[in-house]
Amino acid sequence: MNALTRFFARLEGPQTIGRGPGFWIGFLVVLTGACLYPQFSDGYTVGNTVYFFTWVFMALGLSLIWGYGGALSFGQTAFFGIAGYSYGILTINFGAAYGFTLVAVVLAVAIAALFAVLLGYFLFFGRISGVFLGIVTLSVTLVLERFMAQTAGPEWRIGSARLNGFNGMSNMPPLTIPWPGGDIVLFPDVQLYYVVLGLLVLVYLLLRILVNSSFGNVLVAIRENPERAEMLGYDIRKYQLGAFVIGAALAGLSGVLYTTWGQYITPSSMGMTAAALPIVWVAVGGRSDITSTLIGTLVVLSAFQALTIHGSQYALVVMGILLVLTVLIAPRGLILSGASRIGRLFGKRGDA
């Protein structure tokens, strides 16, 4: 009982913004809004929102690794791609019956996490840090991209799944929930929306607990001063590896959800531009706080899409200007800076 309340007490803490009844009432209001809104909206908007949600997991994972742990991984898209392809290969070979797509999600995320264990062991136990870490992870994802791009030939197949090179892999089934009287196929519409929203809330709350736990404390300590953290008796490599694997699993989850959303995965999802995007989302929101990351990612994604829709060829220029201005005006990230400004407005102290 005591342990359980302490567990939930970790929902708040110095590592996350937002505390007290005010925040949680706001949280519930937003959550309720998110639950109700499909009833008042059209299929496109809902499907598009799911699309935005799918990326958020990767951003949250990067926030954990980079914002909290101080290790800038430039290669989260490697896990995204691995999980996406794994889902494709598994479901193309074994189909969608008996809820296998759900098993495939778990397996695909596990494969990404396993790859992260190997890579992370190599990186952190080799004491690679700073920008070196960024370039090595980027190199890994680019190697995967280059390799996958040239697998167009029929010899590149796993079972009945063609890797299909740069054109990408398609024809995998969407998520399918077995149901008496006909499986429920989760096309990007209301059903998939609730599934992904549920996952998102779960991941968000668990991450809040994680970063406010002693694990989170140590992670932040490593970011601030790894030597000191080690001199307090922590094996910093294990903590970094732990965060890296969790972050990779979340990137993998994004990859799987993205793949099921569009029934398509491509090598360019592991390319240079794709690799840079999560960094931008996380940095714009405020990398050292998961709430800021979550909101920031959604804001950036929808703002950039809206710009592209309405801005014609000026869209990219405006995006660029917005990014530069954000960095200049909101040093700690748009959301984090905004939150602390609001916090100050209401006379609260020590927010964030």
């Binding site: 059209d42 054109n167 569009g262």
Partner: protein, 385 residues
């Protein structure tokens, strides 16, 4: 009357923009002409245009948007094959109709797709034998290392073999590579009679300048260059000297229909750097759509496909007469052999009329009977019934 809505998803920025902005302009030109002439059965055309920024994920976002939110009647979409594969599942899911107005590696057998671009059998079965006749039987292929390049290279290999020639080398170049010293040396070592260049994207186009600077001086043959990337306009002569290209359209084609099209294009878009084959494919696709809708008196995909099945959806395009093949929903083309001179002027040593996109149909794709929604290649043909 209610407008007919056409979605247009093309790359107006990013890597591919140089070859694809003209496609948007061509569609705008055709729509304007059609609307001036009273629309399609009295219904005006309304274009819903999004910039896909050379980014596959944008194709996914916007294909969903045009089909689900904008509820367009047909979509004109895609340059790279990857972008087409990215949006194809979505078109299938919503049972939409998409025109892919681009030359490509071929093989898409999908009832939701109509392809107006040229395919390898049209470009290589003409080009390669002609080149072997003129220059000799030793061939070297330099190709982009992805689906388009690999599959096209496979076509070249097969045709060279069928014609009693010899492949003396093949080099595959990852997309984005711009440095070719090693390949230039490989080619010199292999001593081919000519080089087939299947290089894609602006970075890879740097090959020509670098080969010229090293005095490679070999004739070249291509299905993409000049017709798509107008390298002969972008590079200083004579780096593209003796480049032979089979294309269904380029702005230099000297027929009345072509000159009229080119003049209209330039009148509306005077700054257009070049009117390439994809621009013409896009232009004719709008008219093709008009014809089908007028004949079917409907914009429903099934009604349109009934017209296609009749096998007589044909039109006089700027390139000449073109027809839609009911089995594959691909297009027959007039194929021009363009030769680049030392001063980068274009001549046309040969023209082949009415070259059919025969391969898919012969291999077993028949959309009038079934819709596998798949892409096939010579080494991965449709399953035999």
């Amino acid at each position: 009357a209610d407008p007919i809505k056409l979605g247009v998803l093309e790359d107006q920025s990013g890597d591919f923009a140089a070859a694809t902005i003209g496609k948007v302009h061509a569609i705008q030109l055709a729509a304007e002409e059609i609307n001036k002439a009273g629309g399609i059965d009295g219904r005006p055309l309304e274009l819903v245009i999004y910039d896909t920024q050379s980014d596959n994920t944008r194709y996914q976002e916007f294909m969903r948007r045009v089909l689900q939110r904008d509820k367009v009647d047909a979509v004109f979409a895609g340059f790279s094959s990857a972008s087409r594969e990215a949006y194809r599942p979505i078109v299938n899911q919503f049972d939409g109709l998409a025109f892919y107005n681009n030359q490509y590696e071929g093989g898409v057998c999908d009832a939701n797709m109509i392809v107006t671009g040229a395919v390898p059998e049209q470009q290589f079965s003409t080009l390669i034998p002609w080149m072997m006749e003129k220059y000799g039987k030793k061939v070297y292929t330099l190709a982009a290392d992805y689906n388009f390049g690999q599959i096209s290279a496979e076509w070249v290999r097969n045709i060279v073999k069928e014609n009693g020639g010899e492949m003396v080398g093949e080099d595959f170049i990852p997309l984005g590579v711009s440095q070719f010293s090693q390949n230039i040396q490989n080619i010199q070592k292999a001593k081919p009679d000519f080089v087939v260049t299947l290089l894609v994207g602006t970075a890879q186009a740097s090959y020509y300048e670098q080969a010229a600077a090293a005095s490679v001086n070999l004739p070249m043959a291509s299905s993409v260059n000049v017709g798509q990337g107008y390298e002969h306009k972008r590079f200083k002569p004579p780096s593209l000297k003796d480049m032979y290209v089979t294309t269904n359209y380029i702005e230099e084609i000297d027929t009345p229909a072509s000159k009229a099209f080119f003049a209209k294009f330039k009148a509306k878009f005077p700054d257009e750097p070049y009117v390439n084959q994809e621009a013409e494919n896009s232009y004719l696709a709008v008219y093709l759509y008009k014809q089908m809708v007028e004949r079917a008196k409907s914009t429903k995909r099934d009604d349109l496909r009934k017209e296609i099945a009749k096998g007589d959806v044909c039109m006089d395009a700027p390139e000449g007469k073109v027809c839609l093949d009911p089995k594959s929903q691909h297009m027959s083309h007039t194929i021009y052999l363009a030769k680049v001179g030392a001063d980068h002027s274009i001549t046309f040593p040969k023209v082949w009329e009415d070259i059919k996109p025969y391969w898919l149909g012969e291999a077993g794709c028949d959309l009038t009977k079934s819709d596998p929604s798949a892409q096939y290649t010579p080494s991965n043909p449709p399953p035999k019934p």
